[in-house]
């Protein structure tokens, strides 16, 4: 779960990591009341769940009320790579004397939190890391010991940051780490972290990514997620604890399975045949007929999907349950889309029997390759 900048900054506020003063509006009519206490010049930043908003015109400056109204109007409702801007963050413009970089991520290799810090931050940080890796410090934290003062002291001392900033910087690292742990974060990133003309350190932008598996113990993030304007089908699938994965925008095939591995494998094979997958759909384990019926209904309600490839290998899931679910869905569904079904495992025979009794364009296959061949034979899917 990636948080939008404004939500990340709400967390920064909660942990007293300094940010610029700002407001969030959803409509220009909010400006009059909310922007009262802000001092010009201001910056208006589109809040979308995608990168590259700056280049797309989603960040603009305003030096007076008229300009603010104008830029707010121009950004709210803007379409950035398919994401409509519904929220606008307006903050006081900071006078930046230097840009730093600070992040904490869960490092897969060491299986520990890793702090990355550089006194040369900003948009070019990846370039800095590539050309002068010694300027980007990485330190792993042993989760059994936790963060100790000396680790932060090392990062700051080694970075060559001016000593007058030591206390501020120390504080920010420590608080960001606490946030990282308490909010089950995969990533907390501040880039740029800036030193202002007044020698204050501020988080100018923020990125926070939270473990989806931990949302049940992060109620405020769960609430935020549910408030997002997302693909309706993603939300609908989530209600049933399914994972609806939007893939290529112009894909017309959906792949449904009971595990992400199989879905990945199928997408690989289908892509190799020059076809495009629009939706991956993970049923998870232990699905009942009712749940399968809902799953099929949700996928088929996507107008772009012309064919659905269902491939199930029963472990926790049982084949007859799957077949019964498909039948329930197909009996209600009107449009005649192609279904290629492959079931294997517990109670297979019973499952096949049920599938064969379903009316409509439904083809039962014996393995994945055969299923992909059936799809590849349909000219309309290329």
């Amino acid at each position: 779960m990636d948080l939008m900048e404004y939500k990340a900054k709400e967390l920064f506020d909660k942990y007293e990591i300094p940010t610029q003063k700002g407001i969030v509006i959803e409509d220009v009519s909010d400006l009059a009341s909310k922007a009262l206490n802000l001092t010009f010049p201001l910056v208006a930043k589109a809040q979308v769940q995608i990168g590259g908003r700056g280049k797309a015109g989603g960040i603009k400056f305003a030096s007076n009320t008229d300009e603010l109204l104008e830029v707010s109007k121009s950004i709210l409702g803007m379409d950035i790579k398919g994401h409509i801007v519904k929220k606008l963050l307006i903050v006081e413009k900071a006078e930046v004397s230097k840009e730093l970089y600070l992040s904490i991520m869960l490092d897969r290799l060491s299986k520990k939190p890793m702090i990355i810090f550089s006194s040369e931050g900003g948009v070019d940080i990846e370039e800095v890391a590539r050309l002068t890796p010694e300027k980007v410090m990485k330190v792993s934290i042993d989760p059994l010991i936790g963060i100790k003062d000396y680790i932060i002291r090392y990062l700051i001392s080694k970075s060559g940051l001016n000593n007058s900033l030591y206390e501020q910087m120390f504080d920010i690292v420590k608080k960001l780490y606490t946030l990282f742990c308490e909010y089950d974060c995969m990533l907390t990133e501040i880039n740029p972290l800036v030193i202002t003309a007044e020698n204050k350190i501020l988080a100018l932008d923020g990125k926070v990514s939270i473990d989806d598996n931990a949302l049940s113990r992060q109620p405020d993030i769960l609430e935020f997620r549910d408030s997002l304007t997302e693909d309706e089908l993603v939300l609908e699938a989530r209600k049933f604890n399914f994972l609806y994965i939007p893939c290529e925008v112009d894909g017309n095939i959906a792949v449904m399975s009971n595990g992400s591995g199989m879905i990945m494998s199928c997408i690989d094979l289908i892509s190799k045949q020059g076809m495009k997958v629009g939706v991956g759909f993970d049923l998870g384990g232990g699905a009942t007929a009712e749940r399968i019926a809902e799953a099929v209904r949700i996928v088929l309600s996507n107008k772009n999907i012309k064919a659905l490839f269902i491939t199930i290998f029963g472990g926790i899931t049982r084949c007859d349950e799957v077949a019964t679910g498909i039948k329930m869905a197909m009996e209600k569904h009107e449009e005649d889309k192609l279904l290629v079904v492959r079931v294997e495992g517990t109670n297979k025979e019973k499952g096949l029997e049920i599938i064969n009794s379903i009316k409509g364009q439904i083809i039962s296959v014996d393995n994945i390759r055969e299923g992909v061949s059936v799809l590849a034979a349909r000219r309309e899917l290329k």
Binding site: K111, M186, D211, G315
Partner: protein
């Protein structure tokens, strides 16, 4: 032989009185697995298919001399279950649940290493040594006894492969579901030495995925220490991009680690046969065995 579990494994089922726990206890018993005890707090004294239930793992071990555990409790209690099993002295612990918070697993991982415990999973189908014992929820009918050792990050891709193998008469020594999570208790590198040392295993199959560096590390290990033939599949070449890990992710994997290309290249350099689909794994095995 075989690795991890066999006919001498004395298994505890944690969460035995739950829906999945009960169902799979019956399945495991039917397969011949020695399920000697179950654990559900507050249900001590009951029995499930004749298996005695205890309130704690420690009591279960004291009473039955169990030496391994499979945990069928929900994700949010999984870490607590593993800690209990580790602390009671078990050295092999299988965790089944999906959606275990990764910060939980981070703690479990480092404590397990400290204690010298082997944790398999979470988000794993378990382990099966065909004809001897199974511990987990895999559809055991598709497995056949034989000489190929399999490790897989994906349950479904593993089933698919095993099913085709068995149809072609290629049996398995042991199949391990490493689990698809970001921090698995055991990685390919942890298990390779066991397969290499197992006289019954003649070839090793690795079913990997994009992301992380487990396959790269396996390649390094294989190059140095593994003499047996290895076949590998890396799934996810065309998978949609996952969560964005910001600049941090880019900085940490600036060398391309985690991509299918990186994994396949390193594995190929280590002499591993690269398959491009589950079916292809079987084709390669037919050739090399």
């Amino acid at each position: 032989m075989s690795i991890l579990i066999d006919e001498n494994t004395r298994l505890i089922v944690q969460g035995i009185t739950g829906r999945e726990g009960t169902f799979h206890t019956e399945q495991m018993l039917a397969y011949g697995t020695k399920v000697v005890a179950g654990v559900t707090p507050g249900k001590g004294g009951q029995t499930v298919f004749g298996v005695p239930v205890f309130n704690t793992v420690k009591e279960a071990i004291e009473a039955t001399d169990a030496n391994a555990s499979v945990i069928f409790v929900p994700a949010k209690y999984t870490a607590a279950g593993v800690y209990e099993a580790m602390d009671a002295g078990l050295k092999l612990i299988l965790t089944i649940a999906e959606h275990v918070p990764v910060h939980d697993m981070m703690g479990v991982y480092h404590i397990a290493k400290k204690k010298g415990c082997r944790v398999i999973g979470p988000n794993s189908f378990g382990v099966i040594s065909p004809g001897k014992a199974k511990s987990g929820f895999m559809a055991h009918k598709i497995f056949t006894k034989g000489s190929v050792g399999i490790m897989s990050r994906s349950a479904t891709n593993c089933y698919e492969t095993v099913f085709m193998m068995s149809n072609k008469g290629i049996g398995q020594s042991t199949c391990v579901g490493n689990g698809g999570d970001m921090i698995p208790g055991s990685t390919f590198v942890d298990l390779l030495p066991l397969f290499e040392a197992d006289p019954e295993t003649k070839a090793i199959v690795i079913i990997g995925e994009i992301g992380g560096s487990e396959e790269e590390l396996a390649a390094e290990y294989i190059k140095e220490y593994v003499k047996k033939p290895v076949v590998a599949l890396i799934a996810g070449k065309n998978a949609p991009k996952g969560r964005s890990m910001g600049h941090a992710g880019a900085i940490v994997s600036a060398d391309g680690t985690g991509s299918a290309e990186s994994k396949e290249k390193k594995l190929r350099d280590a002499g591993v046969h690269i398959a491009d689909s589950t079916a292809n794994i079987v084709e390669i095995l037919e050739k090399i065995l």
